[in-house]
């Protein structure tokens, strides 16, 4: 996180916000679960927390390629179903020693669609 805060003080060379991708109605994700989406050739797992908040992470576990969207979540973490590696939904960092997952900024728009902001800044959510 600290590296990203430094980035915020000076203009980043990476593009910060471009257009949002509309992934369809938010109701396709049940509360407390995740679903996988293909976006520009990248796989993104979008989670809908029980309070309605959305979170988005890359969908492939860096450990052994497990399907992150099939993981169990709470408000803070998602656990990969294959070997129970845990990742912060906010930062993508693993608390179990795995490589981090990419995070994406994601929101719900007025029409109750999922909007994924992309590209992203690695390791940070832009929300």
């Amino acid at each position: 996180m600290s590296a990203d805060q430094t980035d915020a003080n000076q203009p980043s060379t990476e593009p910060v916000i471009t257009t949002g991708h509309i992934l369809g109605p938010v109701d396709q994700i049940p509360f407390g679960e995740g679903r996988a989406f293909g976006v520009d050739g990248e796989q993104v797992a979008v989670f809908r927390l029980r309070d309605g908040t959305l979170r988005a992470l890359s969908a492939v576990c860096p450990h052994r390629g497990g399907p992150i969207a099939d993981g169990t979540i709470d408000r803070e973490v998602v656990m990969c179903p294959l070997h129970q590696h845990a990742f912060s939904l906010e930062t993508g960092c693993s608390s179990t020693g795995a490589e981090p997952l990419r995070t994406y900024s994601v929101q719900e728009d007025a029409e109750r669609n999922i909007v994924l902001k992309y590209p992203h800044i690695r390791g940070n959510s832009l929300a």
Partner: protein, 838 residues
């Protein structure tokens, strides 16, 4: 012979040639000596070659008793597996025995015909089981009779387990009531074998304690169901080709199927004797661990005699290895080994035992402080001479061991009130005991962790006991030091030690054990996982790690009153299939009792063909597994199969394996197939804290392996059925305990259901029956389940019936997904490492 002599290998000009270090013996002493040498930069000085009689890396021999009792698997006890040797450039000749040493030309001769030169030699040949003279111990061919075992090596232990698990082997005699004998008896008992211990001494463990302590220990051992005969010598092993019993000197013969000889150990000195080295009771070494009058030969461990003492414990070996390494590497040539004061602290047959120095007073002026409480298995005895402690024995309560060991080792002044030696009477007590420990004092003898290392780990931020244990590996060996480790961590954290939540909580996110959690759920009328978090979790915080356990518990408690929130389920339970390494799923249709039909087989074949199923596999539970099904295809596969789920994915009742039964088998005595199908029909899909695998066998040949199932049923002659519980043959091997023998198959079903309900209500999350049954004890389970001692049988039966009644085949969700996108792919669309198609 000289023609095969290995020549010293050529060296780069200029580089000092490394000397050749050769180690005879690859046990705990040999490997520890090498570790100490490597720690002193030995890799730069030496090319190291080791010879080991056993064809393995080196393992923790102390843990063999845990392997025997099934608490550890044999893979868990390796200290250094084969890759360690490679990583440290050590040439290991495993399974090769050294026959002779030529100390003049400096070569060793091994039984593979090899002749290996050395510059420095270390002998660490250890000990072997002592076989006392008895008639009939050996066959005429000279080998030990079939069914007689020593208890020294991993092979001994494996053979014993194998023998004990054969169904017709039910009785064992252990010769020797010392530490090893009691461990053997305890281990065999856990395989369901009736064990009798024959001990020539007047009381058990007479090398470690006096008669009063021995009597208390005997009571504790007998309470485990192990019979004990003291002052009794075995004169003969009976049986022509295989053991049928033993004869005692002045008692009746004992019939048995196996004999374990644990009558002490003898140093392995054959090589030394043959090679002309000085041997008395063992190989004679000086204070530098050098063999007497030899400049380049050292010896270490149980094969040495130092100042007249031969040790059979692990602690002296560690001390010797340090001194030896100091000299061999030249790091500290003033280092000297002056002998060890042996204080032992161990767990024997589940009883804490600590012993040091004298067992009782020797002079009139010696003080003897004794406390004895046989009903609780507690005995404490301390001998004081000139205000110094000269001996102690503690049984059943080891809380004062750290302090007493220190007082004994260092001759500390003792409290005037002697009772304070035995108990913490007011005051800071234990903490003082730990505080007085020296930083260098070794707390964990298996992994060589000192108090200082533990304290450093705590100061470095490991403020839980398990955290400090993980960081230092303390307590990860035989486990006997765990209490002391806990005390040290608590002392080092100065009261700031964090409780280990996972230790007693049913699930990590709710700070309640199972009974309290169930009571709170009932009292507050909670019906869903999210309600439980809101009402009972700190800060009402959800916890991903707790969801699956709570979902299972609530379903068990509430049956059809449970509000099912799909996000609380593990993926397997959301889509009713078992996730595989590539993110596809396995589909196992129900095949009750492993019985199928032409129609089923044809349909399965058609489905497999239609869906291009990459792997069709017969499972251990007698079913057919279709592997590699993508999630989105699951509903179609189920529809095409049109068979109910076989539950091969959940923490639930899985399957009932059966044998052919009496209709076809010419040995069958009961209709096992029918009963197995009925049990599976009744209990299909029942949730439980961990999976339940059952079996029904039609005769004691046990073709369905009923003795190693969570619940196993065996038909015996006379139309009766034996019911075993708590068996396992997976990651862990355990023979089930006999719960009951009944006449009626209906009674089998009632007791099976009642046992499983009691397990569901009382087992910890993910605790298999092989842990649950020994934790509660078969006597207790029998009292509750068979004899209804607590008057809850009817309640258990009713609760199980409610669960049975609320069964719905989960594969019926195929036509009407319960959540949007329930079967939508989560597979990353990029190509993952593919499982090969066979």
């Amino acid at each position: 012979m000289t023609s095969v002599l290995d020549r010293p290998q050529g060296r780069h000009a200029g580089a000092a040639p490394r000397r050749r270090l050769l180690v005879v013996g690859n046990g705990m002493a040999g490997a520890r000596a090498v570790e100490e040498i490597l720690a002193r930069g030995g890799a730069e000085q030496f090319t190291i070659t080791m010879f080991g009689d056993e064809p393995y890396g080196n393992y923790n021999r102390i843990m063999l008793s845990h392997v025997l009792s099934g608490e550890e698997s044999d893979a868990d006890i390796f200290l250094n597996a084969l890759p360690w040797y490679r990583e440290n450039s050590i040439t290991l000749h495993a399974g090769v025995r050294v026959d002779r040493i030529d100390k003049f030309t400096k070569h060793v001769f091994s039984n593979d015909g090899r002749v290996t030169p050395y510059d420095t030699l270390i002998i660490a040949t250890g000990s072997r089981s002592h076989m006392p003279p008895m008639d009939g111990l050996y066959t005429p061919g000279g080998s030990v009779k079939h069914g007689v075992f020593g208890f020294r090596t991993i092979d001994d232990t494996r053979k014993m387990v194998q023998h004990a698990q054969q169904e017709h082997h039910r009785r064992a005699v252990v010769i020797g009531g010392g530490l090893l004998g009691l461990e053997a008896a305890y281990g065999l008992k856990s395989h369901g074998i009736d064990v009798e211990v024959v001990h020539s001494g007047g009381h058990l463990m007479n090398a470690q304690m006096g008669p009063d302590g021995g009597a208390v220990l005997r009571r504790s051992v007998e309470a485990l169901g192990i019979r004990v005969h003291t002052s009794s010598r075995t004169t003969a092993v009976l049986g022509r080709d295989t053991v049928s019993g033993v004869s005692l000197r002045d008692r009746e013969d004992i019939a048995c199927d196996m004999v374990v000889v644990a009558a002490g150990i003898r140093p392995n000195v054959d090589v030394a004797v043959l090679s002309g080295l000085p041997v008395e009771r063992a190989i004679v070494v000086d204070d530098r661990l050098r063999v007497q009058d030899e400049d380049d030969i050292y010896a270490v461990g149980e094969c040495v005699q130092h100042r007249g003492e031969v040790y059979g414990l692990v602690a002296p070996l560690w001390e010797q290895a340090v001194v030896l390494a100091n000299h061999v590497t030249g790091v500290d040539t003033s280092s000297a080994y002056l002998g060890s004061r042996t204080a032992t602290k161990l767990k024997v047959a589940g009883v804490d035992v600590a012993s040091m120095g004298l067992h009782g007073p020797e002079f009139d002026t010696d003080e003897h402080i004794v406390f004895s409480e046989p009903s609780r298995g507690i005995f404490k005895s301390i001998v004081v001479r000139d205000n110094k402690m000269v001996g102690a024995t503690l049984l059943g309560d080891s809380r004062k061991v750290a302090y007493l060991t220190q007082a004994y080792d260092r001759g500390l002044p003792l409290p005037e009130e002697r009772i304070a030696l035995l108990f913490d009477v007011g005051g800071p007590g234990e903490a003082v005991g730990v505080a007085e420990l020296d930083d260098g004092a070794q707390v964990c003898n298996c992994n060589g962790v000192s108090k200082g290392a533990l304290v450093a780990a705590v100061k470095g931020g490991c403020t839980t006991v398990s955290g400090a244990m993980d960081a230092t590996r303390a307590g990860k060996g035989c486990g006997s030091c765990k209490l002391l480790v806990k005390q040290v961590v608590e002392w080092a954290a100065d009261g700031a030690v964090e409780e280990d939540p996972a230790a007693s909580y049913y699930v990590p996110g709710i700070p309640l054990d199972k009974p309290a959690l169930m009571a709170a759920i009932r009292k507050k009328g909670l019906r869903s996982v999210s309600q439980v978090f809101t009402a009972l979790a700190p800060g009402s915080a959800e916890d991903a790690k707790s969801k699956m356990g709570l979902a299972s518990l609530l379903k068990m408690m509430l049956a059809d009153q449970y509000i099912d929130e799909r996000d609380a389920r593990f993926i397997n339970d959301r889509v009713h299939a078992n996730i595989q390494r590539d993110g596809t799923f396995s589909v196992v249709p129900q095949m009750k009792g492993g019985v199928t039909s032409v129609q089923q087989l044809r349909r399965i074949a058609d489905v497999a063909e239609k869906h291009n199923v990459p792997l069709i596999k017969l499972t251990g539970g007698q079913r057919i597994d279709l592997l590699g099904i993508p999630k989105e295809d699951l509903p179609q596969v189920w529809a095409d199969l049109d068979m109910p789920s076989g539950y091969a994915y959940g923490k639930s009742f899985r399957t009932v394996k059966t044998c052919v039964g009496k209709d076809f088998c010419r040995y069958g005595t009961g209709d096992s197939t029918k009963l197995g199908i009925e049990i599976e029909s009744r209990f299909q899909g029942i949730e439980s804290p961990a999976k339940l695998k059952l079996a029904v066998s039609g005769c004691p040949r046990n073709c369905a392996e009923s003795l190693v199932k969570d619940v196993g049923v065996v038909a015996v002659e006379g139309g009766r059925w034996e019911l075993y519980v708590g068996g396992a043959a997976g990651a862990h091997i355990r023979k089930g305990d006999l719960l009951a023998t009944v006449d009626d198959p209906e009674e089998v079903k009632v007791l099976t259901g009642r046992f499983m309900q009691y397990y569901r209500e009382n087992a910890n999350w993910l605790e298999r029956t092989y842990s649950f049954v020994p934790r509660l004890g078969i006597e207790h389970l029998r009292a509750v389940i068979v004899d209804d001692s607590e008057g809850i049988a009817a309640t258990l039966d009713a609760a199980m019936q409610a669960s049975v009644d609320s069964y719905v085949d989960p594969w019926s969700e195929r036509d009407d997904p319960l959540t949007p996108g329930q079967f939508r792919t989560s597979l990353p669309l990029t190509v993952l490492p593919q499982v090969p198609v066979r």
